[in-house]
Symmetry: C2
Subunit: 113 residues, 2 copies
DNA sequence: ATGGATGTATCATAATATGATATATTCGCC
DNA sequence: GGCGAATATATCATATTATGATACATCCAT
């Protein structure tokens, strides 16, 4: 069960989403996020690493050992059970909103008294 | 055509979404937002009115006349063409993410080298 | 062995969100 | 015809989140 259904901050969402596709180090997350959002949204280093720190503090991600022979600078991260749950809640929230938007006739109807 | 496909701040999104269902005054937006997010996310007065101001500045919403005989305190807002376009871009972005998440096998696969 | 890409990190600042509080108007109701 | 609760907008002070710029070390191809 996820915390709440409050919206996730954009950068946090992207990082969780990227990690859902497999463990990654910071830079790889950055590249992946660019792909995911199709170039429209870049996470720069500042946002990336401060957000990673926050996610670690919240126990939504954790640091894990990477493959033995990889670049020694890299620090690998993995979604925790809790993080996965938060991500799924957010995806569900989005899905609901999209569904609702389709169910309603968009663009201005009459004012509500 | 919408500005970008960068994610919308949560409060801004909810306000645009609420207005897509018809023109409303601030307090009604607040109530609607609570409904939309099914109780999980409340926009308090501070967030509401500062965000409304920002949306006005961006020309994503505009103030309009309400029904004649309504409570004189009320100030009504309406989505602009531009705001509508931004909202639709955001919904499309969400839809894409949801679709992508379904296309991938969620939860940790192998680390990426 | 040198230069460009990779990778992490942090400073200073801006943008956003929020709790608390204030104040005025409207409305039901007796 | 006045009282209290809900409605409605507004703002202050603060917390949270995002970001540009920059720094610096390591790796890798040539």
């Amino acid at each position: 069960m996820a915390e709440t259904n409050s919206p996730l901050a954009p950068a946090a969402f992207l990082i969780l989403f990227a990690l859902a596709g497999g463990d990654k180090h910071g830079y790889a997350i950055m590249r992946e996020a660019r792909l995911i959002s199709e170039g429209g949204f870049e996470i720069g280093p500042a946002t990336l690493y401060t957000t990673i720190q926050r996610l670690l503090d919240s126990c939504w991600i954790e640091e894990v050992a990477g493959p033995e022979s990889s670049d020694s600078r890299r620090r690998y991260y993995s979604l925790t059970q809790q993080g996965s749950s938060v991500l799924n809640a957010e995806l569900k929230r989005m899905e609901t909103l999209v569904r609702k938007s389709k169910a309603m006739r968009l663009r201005n109807a009459d004012p509500i008294s």
